[in-house]
């Protein structure tokens, strides 16, 4: 693990990503201190350009765009992380059972996974949120449900290939049960690829969330970058700053997470480097 960390630290792009991500994180956690009135508060006259009083200007209702960006970061990161964790949990559960037990169970579970993969994921997410009524929880649930199949396939492959290794056989020979083999031996050994792929998943989840909010399917009580772009799109030509800054925020965050994810992938699987 220590070696993986030094390998990560040597990768300049990954470090850049980590720094951007830390800035976003700091911004999100400092939000209440920076803008105690909240993201929805009317701060001044509408459509003020960036500069003097408002760093990033105000929107059509006179809300501070900077406050929206800062609170939007909280929403994006919160949903990004929790939906990813839910997807990884679900995916690993499916993949582990399929890969460890193999046989008919494997076939059945993998067909279910494929079924989910054939449905266009964004449409399914829209449908789920529309049925469950827009809220944070339904967003997380919907995004997790459309994101787990990739993780499940990865976990299945890892479990299946590790399952035939001699150390697993040795452990069974000592008298260990399935639980011990799966949790103490197999899971730690496939942690690296799961962490790497999971970190990349956070980026796509944030895009999903922005997309849902843009369509008005986000939680109405939470400020979100997608919602801001949606609100500002009608005045795009007269007040460019309302859409541009949340757009840049999405771009920077997703890029940063991708860089970190790639860095993790390389650091945890050093063999990739020589290719």
């Amino acid at each position: 693990m220590k070696a993986a960390f030094t390998r990560f630290a040597r990768n300049r792009l990954a470090l850049l990503g980590a720094i951007i991500l830390l800035l976003v994180l700091a911004m999100a956690s400092a939000a209440p201190a920076l803008y105690p009135a909240g993201a929805f508060a009317l701060a001044g006259p509408p459509l003020q350009p960036p500069g003097d009083r408002f760093l990033l200007g105000t929107d059509t209702l006179g809300r501070d765009v900077a406050a929206g960006i800062v609170y939007g970061a909280r929403t994006s990161l919160m949903i990004g992380v929790s939906a990813t964790l839910a997807a990884v949990l679900l995916g690993v559960l499916f993949g582990a059972v399929a890969g460890y037990y193999r046989g008919r169970l494997d076939v059945a579970l993998m067909r279910v996974t494929e079924l989910f993969q054939t449905i266009p994921s964004f449409i399914l997410a829209i449908l789920l949120v529309a049925i469950l009524s827009p809220s944070v929880n339904s967003e997380i649930l919907a995004i997790a449900i459309v994101s787990w199949p990739g993780i499940a396939r990865l976990a299945r492959g890892e479990f299946a290939s590790l399952g035939g290794r001699e150390f697993v056989l040795a452990c069974a020979g000592l008298g260990a049960g399935d639980g011990r083999i799966v949790f103490r031996h197999l899971l730690p050994n496939c942690a690296s690829p799961l962490i790497a792929v999971g970190s990349l998943l956070v980026a796509s989840v944030i895009l999903f969330e922005s997309g849902l909010s843009f369509l008005g399917l986000g939680d109405p009580n939470l400020m979100s970058w997608g919602l801001m772009i949606s609100a500002g799109r009608e005045v795009l030509r007269s007040a460019w700053w309302i859409c541009t800054f949340p757009g840049l925020a999405i771009l920077a965050t997703v890029l940063a997470i991708n860089l970190v994810g790639d860095g993790l992938n390389e650091a945890l699987n050093p063999r990739l480097r020589d290719r």
Binding site: R165, F167, A170, G173, G175
Partner: protein
């Protein structure tokens, strides 16, 4: 050796070759100021243990060093060209045309998607402008030259339809297609069974004589050296420690390292040891049968165990000898209840085990433990050595403290320091890992130890140490041992009795000394004859080596 060749110009002369390894490797140079001369009509064996740099020498001759590994000094003079300075175009003209190469792994050296004939043909297409028909004739002739049966039909076969030995013959045919002056063979028989190995070695020898070719043969096995070499060069951690004629090096090695390597090679003879009073039976296989379902659309089912009955007596070591696919590993796994049998039964002290559920089996698990072949794959890379060894006792209800105390005891027993407990498997060498594997098996205080090829992945010097450790422990703890191996030399060293397996059946079983003196089954005789170096050892029996 043809004495005239000593005065003819060398085919390849390696002068002061240094190959640098990338930063972070265990040493700066793979080989350091290495000199070697290859003469026409001679087979030179380059011998060394794993990590000695012998494969790097082979790859440097073909200009095929791995990324980030570079030649830093020296010259590789091949005719008028210095390969160390040659550019890619010059190298391409030499590879395949003037220098042929045979690799270790016949499974991966051929492209699975192309027909065998097509792949041999490719060499001719690259280096000649023969017509299609002429090339085809040449290919068929080449396949016949390496003694492949029915070359016309084999021309159209795919690699997966061939056995390992046949595939290696195809690879040799490819390497020889352009009648190269130099053939480089990197452990070409290591992945093969002994009987196949013996055939391939004889074949290579014959082809080399016919064509008056120079061969650089890389191997770790002194048996193979004795079989095939004219000259021997010994490499130790990148340094050439000894070079000379085969009989000189093998009989009067001048360097201490060569002497220690030769001393570690197991001899094909039964060591004298105190007679073992046969005990009562402890582990018994009764009419075991196991079939692996056919694989793929046209595959056939394989009978891994065909009505096998064998019994292990208390206190003895029973050797299970056979080639790959003989069912010996399957038998070991069925006897340890790691794989189910189709029918038949396993008896431990008279109690039936084969059809117990996992829960019912647990108390019996302690009594039969296994040591695995691959010291790299058999230890969980994410657990510390202490946790690995303590796992067995903890599964069987020992407290953490008691298990920890046991770990220290066991590490000492297998010759490792107590500090090893906190470290992880990748920090240890192959031999040390095998010791950890043995400690894990002993942690449950078993009565029977099943060792599945425990030393075949190790270098000879390490192999000797691990075998000695196993013998000591067996003696100290009064274990009964089932020892699975493909190497008759090892089996004769450690086993009281030997069972020879072939195609899922035990064809011969008896005292090690008796089997060695007078093998009764033709297959056993074939196995003994195929042991590398056996002929050479016999012809020099009057003057024993070292």
């Amino acid at each position: 050796m043809n004495d005239g060749s000593f005065f003819s110009p060398p085919v390849l002369s390696i002068e002061g070759l240094s190959i640098a390894l990338p930063d972070g490797a265990d040493r700066a140079h793979a080989v350091d100021r290495f000199n070697l001369t290859l003469r026409p009509g001679e087979i030179t064996c380059l011998v060394g243990e794993s990590g000695s740099g012998k494969s790097m020498v082979a790859r440097s001759i073909l200009g095929l060093l791995p990324p980030r590994v570079r030649i830093t000094a020296g010259a590789l003079r091949f005719g008028a060209t210095d390969i160390a300075q040659a550019n890619e175009a010059q190298l391409r003209a030499i590879r395949g045309l003037e220098i042929g190469m045979v690799f270790q792994e016949p499974m991966t050296a051929l492209n699975p998607l192309h027909r065998v004939g097509h792949q041999v043909d490719e060499v001719l297409r690259l280096h000649t402008d023969l017509s299609r028909r002429a090339r085809r004739e040449r290919v068929v002739q080449l396949l016949a030259d390496v003694n492949l049966p029915d070359p016309e039909r084999l021309y159209r076969a795919y690699p997966h339809q061939l056995s390992g030995g046949q595939r290696q013959r195809v690879v040799i045919a490819m390497a020889l297609a352009m009648r190269p002056k130099l053939l480089i063979a990197d452990e070409p028989t290591t992945a093969l069974d002994v009987t196949t190995q013996a055939q391939i070695l004889a074949q290579l020898r014959e082809l080399q004589r016919d064509r008056d070719m120079s061969v650089l043969f890389i191997t770790h096995d002194f048996g193979v050296v004795a079989e095939i070499a004219d000259r021997v060069a010994v490499l130790q951690r990148g340094q050439l420690v000894e070079e000379g004629r085969r009989d000189d090096v093998l009989r009067n090695p001048s360097h201490a390292y060569t002497r220690s390597l030769l001393a570690a090679v197991p001899r094909l003879r039964v060591p004298s040891r105190p007679a073992n009073t046969p005990g009562v039976q402890i582990l018994e296989a009764c009419n075991l049968k196991k079939t692996y379902a056919r694989r793929g659309f046209r595959g056939r089912a394989t009978m891994a165990l065909d009505d096998v009955s064998v019994l292990l007596r208390r206190g003895e070591t029973l050797g299970l000898v056979g080639e790959s696919g003989s069912g010996k590993s399957t038998l070991a796994r069925v006897l340890t209840c790691l794989a189910p049998a189709d029918s038949g039964d396993v008896l431990l002290d008279g109690e039936q085990l084969a059809y117990l559920t996992r829960r019912q089996l647990r108390p019996y698990r302690k009594r039969v433990q296994m040591v695995f072949q691959d010291p790299y794959a058999s230890l969980d890379p994410r657990q510390s050595v202490g946790d690995i060894i303590a796992e067995g006792p903890m599964i069987h209800g020992a407290s953490r403290a008691a298990a920890k105390a046991r770990v220290t005891e066991l590490l000492e027993l297998v010759g490792l320091s107590a500090a090893a407990a906190a470290r992880y498997p990748h920090e240890f060498s192959g031999g040390q890992r095998q010791r950890i594997g043995i400690a894990r098996a002993l942690a449950l205080e078993p009565e029977v130890l099943v060792a599945d090829e425990p030393v075949s992945a190790l270098d000879v010097s390490v192999q000797a140490q691990v075998l000695k450790l196993l013998a000591d422990i067996k003696h100290k703890l009064d274990l009964s041992m089932l020892f699975v191996t493909h190497d008759l030399r090892v089996a004769l060293q450690v086993c009281d009795r030997i069972a020879v397996m072939r195609a899922g059946r035990i064809v011969e079983i008896g005292d090690a000394a008796a089997i060695h003196a007078a093998p009764s089954h033709p297959y056993t005789r074939e196995l003994f004859a195929a042991v590398p170096g056996a002929m050479w050892e016999q012809s020099h029996a009057a003057e024993p080596v070292v």
